[in-house]
């Protein structure tokens, strides 16, 4: 599963670290366990190749020291005024070609911050700050919320914090079918399990290692039946000359498996990358059409230094998908929350 496990020295006796090291660092297929001082020594080092490392990433067990809960980027919202995100992990088990993490991080190694209690404490401070109004918390910005759950058990621990906090709404964004931690407990009204989708043709080509669209739908169906609120994130929208048909098929399949009642919200996301990330990603994958076809650099003040589809393509794609989508859901559930 990993090429090695790196452990920050100060955490060597931490119960979560011990449990993970015992699980993977023993027996005939033992993974090497290497101590380091700070995860940044390895993770932020320049001259590493994300693409090669992604073939067999290492796991780094680290402590996060600050910035547990941060204001969410403006595109990350579902209609709320107060939006925050938190990342207990950096990098993802899956390998979506369009993923901005490849452009953001030097290394493909997974960093798991094991001081969950500090995340919980920071969240509770925000709950108090926003006790009179709704506030939204997004998990799954720098990783997939659920993919690593069998090892990390982070979601299990954080859900306890959200229990009974009606005004604090948690979104778990994922492509994963690792939903055991949710199946084992009572559905929570203030938790949205938000699955990301692209059409089958896109997913099978560009979402390596992620569960297939069909498997994601099966996971959603199970959760919805139990009463969990479902979010649907068609994000990023990927252009193809046949996109109308591709998205029509996707929406048809998804919505025929879900009752409207179980859908909390639906959103469409644009494919946008900061120029710096795009440059790094094209260096890693010089032969990748996804990073070339139809893209251009935006010049408007709002989107300065962003690479995205040319305006005409983007408008056509977004409006086309929005139109099809509104045949399946009421406008009240649709969040067109992107800066455009």
């Amino acid at each position: 599963m990993f090429s090695a496990i790196y452990v920050e020295s100060e955490l060597r006796d931490h119960p979560r670290v011990k449990a993970i090291c015992d699980k993977f660092g023993k027996g005939s297929a033992a993974i090497p366990i290497i101590e380091c001082e700070r995860y940044t020594e390895l993770f932020n080092r320049k001259a590493q190749n994300f693409r090669l490392q992604k073939q067999s990433p290492a796991l780094i067990l680290a402590r996060k020291h600050a910035n547990y809960v941060l204001p969410a980027p403006s595109a990350y919202n579902i209609g709320g005024k107060y939006n925050y995100y938190f990342s207990h992990m950096l990098n993802c088990l899956y390998d979506c070609r369009y993923c901005f993490l490849q452009g953001m991080f030097q290394s493909a190694n997974y960093v798991l911050f094991i001081n969950y209690e500090d995340f919980a404490a920071a969240l509770q401070i925000k709950f108090v700050e926003h006790q009179l109004e709704d506030s939204y918390y997004f998990s799954g910005y720098d990783c997939d919320s659920l993919a690593f759950e069998p090892v990390s058990q982070f979601v299990t621990s954080i859900l306890k914090i959200f229990k009974g906090q009606a005004k604090a709404i948690l979104e778990l964004r994922t492509k994963s079918t690792q939903i055991r931690s949710l199946l084992d407990i009572e559905p929570m009204d203030n938790v949205i399990v938000a699955f990301s989708f692209t059409p089958d043709e896109i997913a099978s080509r560009w979402e390596d290692k992620a569960p297939s669209v069909a498997k994601r739908i099966a996971a959603i169906t199970k959760l919805a039946k139990l009463g969990w609120k479902i979010g649907l994130r068609f994000d990023p929208l990927i252009y193809h000359p046949d996109f109308q048909q591709q998205y029509e098929n996707l929406f048809k399949t998804v919505f025929s498996n879900l009752s409207e009642k179980s859908i909390h919200s639906v959103s469409l996301g644009l494919f946008r990358l900061p120029e710096k990330f795009h440059k790094k990603m094209t260096k890693l994958f010089p032969d990748e059409a996804l990073f070339v076809a139809g893209l251009s650099k935006r010049s408007s003040e709002l989107n300065a230094n962003m690479i995205s589809y040319k305006e005409s393509i983007e408008a056509n794609l977004f409006n086309g998908c929005e139109k099809i989508l509104l045949d399946y859901i009421p406008a009240s559930k649709f969040f067109s929350c992107q800066e455009r």
Binding site: P32, I34, L42, R45, N49, P286, A289, F291, S296
Partner: protein, 269 residues
């Protein structure tokens, strides 16, 4: 191209024979041996010598290899309190006795050689105080090689030569050569593993052959050269290399003109 860095002539001897390397007599700064896709340099003992020779080889290959890419392997003897002499170990962590800086070579899942913490010391270690493998070069080598290439293409392989029961001062050049010779298979396995990753990367960044043809045709500034290479990559990604073959060469005035033609084509997608 892989560059093997060794401290001692006795360490180098079996490797030179195994890979049939030839001394490059034009180079005097360090004894340098070359063969097919391989250089070996004998650095002398100590981290400074190792770093200096690594830097020197990097400069040498930059003059002959326009891609300026390389892979690096440090091979040498080292001590450990109770590891058996003759055992090969691979650096998973390199610490420098004289500083607090640590280094973490890439851990390759396909290598079965046990990973260890190597401590680079300035004088020969005979106490073996900690559970560390002691050497005198790894750190200098690793820091210098890291300046030249990506982490995945650098490894540091040590053969245990001394321990609590086998005194380092009893080692003769012949013993050193035998220790290395007995581990040539592991050296080859490690080298192949690095080269496997290295070749993958070379394949990923391979520029279409027509790029060289056009580069020979006009003079390109550094920036233009970079731009041209990216445009070739773009057309390759778009599966449109045939467009380049269709360009009427005689109608292209200069480098800037070619770049503009290709830019228009890419933007048409």
């Amino acid at each position: 191209m892989i560059n093997i860095i060794v401290a001692l002539a006795a360490e180098a001897k079996p490797i030179i024979a195994y890979y049939k390397l030839k001394r490059n007599h034009a180079i005097h700064a360090f004894p340098l041996y070359s063969g097919k896709d391989m250089n070996l340099v004998v650095t002398g003992s100590g981290k400074l010598a190792s770093a200096a020779a690594t830097g020197f080889v990097a400069g040498f290959i930059k003059n002959i290899d326009i891609e300026q890419n390389s892979a690096w392997l440090n091979v040498g003897i080292a001590g450990h309190r109770d590891r058996e002499c003759g055992t090969a170990v691979l650096a998973h962590k390199i610490i420098e006795k004289s500083s607090t800086l640590n280094h973490y070579p890439f851990v390759s899942q396909s290598l079965s050689v046990p990973g260890v913490e190597i401590c680079t010391v300035e004088v020969v270690e005979t106490e073996y105080a900690d559970d560390l493998v002691y050497d005198m070069e790894a750190c200098g080598f690793f820091v210098a090689a890291s300046r030249q290439t990506s982490l995945e293409f650098i490894q540091c392989l040590k053969i245990i030569s001394d321990n609590h029961t086998s005194n380092v001062y009893d080692l003769k050049p012949n013993n050193v050569s035998s220790l290395i010779e007995n581990n040539l298979e592991i050296i080859e396995e490690t080298k192949s593993d690095i080269m496997n990753l290295f070749s993958q990367r070379q394949m990923q960044i391979r520029v279409p052959a027509q790029w060289l043809e056009w580069r020979r045709r006009f003079h390109f500034s550094e920036t233009q050269n970079h731009l041209l290479r990216n445009l070739f990559y773009n057309l390759q990604a778009l599966d449109d290399m045939k467009y380049i073959d269709q360009i009427e060469k005689a109608n292209v005035k200069d480098a800037a003109d070619l770049i503009s033609i290709l830019q228009n084509r890419v933007e048409s997608y």
